[in-house]
Symmetry: C2
DNA sequence: CAGTAAACCTACCGGCGAGTAGATTACGGG
DNA sequence: CCCGTAATCTACTCGCCGGTAGGTTTACTG
């Protein structure tokens, strides 16, 4: 009995590292950083624990590498979909579609970035927060650009970051909601947001303002 | 030397339980469920560990009680600010103000609910998700109500839940953003959201739709 | 001023999981 | 075919933390 490929044979370090990272993302996303054990990671990766330590270092190191890799993948995916030559609304539209598309194809990546990374605290939370802040600033730039073009740059700048934070949060939240309602296309998700936010923002640019009791101009 | 109140004297169970719960919320919010130790909780509460177990039960029990208490406080706070007689936009406005106000006054409560509860997994995540889903449904109801009043109920209903999820997420995200930018009033936060979302939604109700390339009607 | 019940503590156990020591293969080049 | 090296494993140590056993003190109550 030749025991055909009785277990994944000896593989070059590169490949194993990737496998282990994949497994780690899976495990961390499922149970969170603290609840995940290195034994779990090793088992899912089909490898013994010392391998994990030899190749990826301590648990913290491993988690950091997961976060960084997945974050890069996400940002690259979004960046690939956006072209600086496009109009602001098309930039937003494309970015949102890319984002939702990525999340749809990489649930674990999204979960580990969104849910777990923040709750660990320490340097990870810092890192993730900064990345998120960068995203918000990018969106804010689009907002300001539009506002400036329409001649109300000053007013827009004041609230641009807040609006951007709200928009980013809305997208993230929709992504989470999506996990429970998979029977919706990524395009539809993006169009909801565009309709909600871009139309509203368009009104803002035009000078319309909502205020309690008298919904008219300032 | 009378050693004036040398340490918090013997206190009735009720009071101690509250103190311990307060401490637990603090500790859980700071470090997350798994990283928090019962010794930490006991120390912050100014009490020895067996007290915690005698009064609040196991670590899971304790966490559940934290979550439930804080969730109730938050929901009550929002409910107290909203009156069913108000117009939909005013309901939204009041609810948002109450929400932001609560978060501003209870950072730990918010953190433990938003960041930690979801990442623990198991029954807690379930519980929190359901509460969040209820909130989304409430908002969705407001959306549908408005849509129906304007005669486009059917179309609104399809996307109402998605829109509501986006709105709730935007509010949550703004709340988090607020933690890093405390020099903004809760009213301003709420007004940003109202301007962004309600105006956009108003356009939707009026039949305007954003689509790629030709931003006009369907 | 007992005496009892409730509040509260010190000091421990057992298990789990991070991290490691050191042997043991398999593959690739000579 | 054989040797070195990189890949891989088994089998441990050790500290931390959830949970508890059992005693001690304080405050009411009659």
């Amino acid at each position: 009995m030749p025991e055909k490929t009785k277990r994944a044979r000896r593989l070059p370090r590169e490949v194993r590292e990737r496998q282990i990272l994949d497994a780690a993302v899976e495990v961390f996303s499922a149970n969170g950083y603290h609840a995940a054990s290195m034994d779990d990671v090793a088992e899912v990766a089909g490898v013994s624990k010392p391998m994990v330590y030899t190749y990826l270092g301590s648990k913290e190191d491993l988690f950091a590498k997961c976060i960084r890799r997945e974050a890069k993948r996400l940002l690259d995916a979004v960046a690939a979909g956006v072209d600086a030559d496009m109009t602001p609304d098309m930039q937003l539209w494309s970015g949102l579609r890319s984002f939702f598309s990525f999340v749809g194809d990489n649930r674990s990546s999204w979960l580990v970035l969104h849910r777990q990374a923040l709750s660990v605290g320490g340097s990870f939370a810092e890192e993730i927060s900064q990345m998120r802040a960068r995203s918000i600033e990018l969106v804010a730039a689009v907002v300001v650009a539009t506002g400036t073009k329409q001649g109300i740059g000053e007013q827009a700048e004041k609230s641009a970051e807040g609006l951007a934070a709200a928009l980013v949060g809305a997208a993230e939240s929709l992504a989470v909601w999506w996990l429970d309602h998979p029977d919706v296309s990524d395009g539809l998700l993006a169009s909801w947001l565009m309709n909600l936010v871009w139309l509203g923002f368009g009104d803002l640019v035009k000078g319309e303002v909502w205020t309690p009791n008298f919904p008219a101009t300032t």
